[in-house]
Symmetry: C2
Subunit: 189 residues, 2 copies
Amino acid sequence: MKSETRQEEIIRVAAKLFKKKGYSAVTMRDLAKEMGMKAASLYNHINSKQELLNSIILSIAEQFTEEMSNIKNSNSPTAQKLTDIVELHIKLASENTYGMASLNNDWMHLGDQLQHYLTLRNGYEDDFRDIIKKGIENKEIVNENPEIILFSMLTTLRSLYLWIPKKENLDINSLSKSLSQILIQGIDA
Amino acid sequence: MKSETRQEEIIRVAAKLFKKKGYSAVTMRDLAKEMGMKAASLYNHINSKQELLNSIILSIAEQFTEEMSNIKNSNSPTAQKLTDIVELHIKLASENTYGMASLNNDWMHLGDQLQHYLTLRNGYEDDFRDIIKKGIENKEIVNENPEIILFSMLTTLRSLYLWIPKKENLDINSLSKSLSQILIQGIDA
DNA sequence: TTGCTAGACTAACAAGTGTTAGTTAAAGAT
DNA sequence: ATCTTTAACTAACACTTGTTAGTCTAGCAA
């Protein structure tokens, strides 16, 4: 595996700080200190603070969009599609807990990429909603308000980045199984 | 009903801006502009930006703590306690969608009140966890990992502030019923 | 009328902001 | 050995930050 470039390292450390304090509260001097250099030196590797946020958020958003399209176009039953979505969120959240924080909390500070991000996010939510609606039509899932189902699942999945790092020796497969179970079957005995 | 003081108005408007951009990205000049005055004039009514955040977050946190204690000490069955918690979140989130955003996203910028806030939050989560665990012991709810159940419910409830304002003519009772239903019974047909 | 108060204002400060320019030292290429 | 590139540095910039000090004016109490 190709080792991390200095630029990639800066992006990774930036995402870590953004998770802790939020984009606006992190200064380039904070970031430089964490990197063991002076703020001005960062600019040998990156172009701006703004660009750091852009690349952190959009690289993840694009992964979500691409994988969601695969799930949507498969011909699995609805419950399987929902389980796949759970697995997708767990995978991306555990690969990049820092970046997920920016995606969730600092997207409004995207500059020229804000519209692009919103387009991706809306597309993702539309696909998710369609899967739920089709599942209701086919009587594969219960006939509750699809907006509430979407909201409930999506917010749980979006918060995984907060929860995953607290669990040491996380088994992705078993978490994925348990969480799908709870989200789909409920918790009633 | 007693009409809003100027100080209360500033706190309310501040919370609105904090929701939109986050605490750190909102300047006192932004807040002043929204209030139709100059930044310095704000200080005739408030002591500091920090104190705005403190009072926004802690007033809500204290309400949660108090109401959770009532629910915990009632002798309702587990499913009813969980429904009560859902209702509590819906009530507080719809009364104060702005403040809930700060509570969720900007608590780390609390100054001298940070420890107090964390104590309240941990107490709240402990109570919630206890209710779930007792429900599992009494076989009132399914025997899944209580941490995952807690996480799943709590993150959904914590995100209500994002979702509630999007629904015009919101009926709190019917939302409360639907959401409890989905969280407890699941969505399987 | 006179005096007091509430609540706005202007001006300013010291500290911190992202970023640029120019310099320097070490490592790699010729 | 000389040249070039990389990646650090110092110094500085123009601007923004939260906040304070001091002033002014309209409304009310005496």
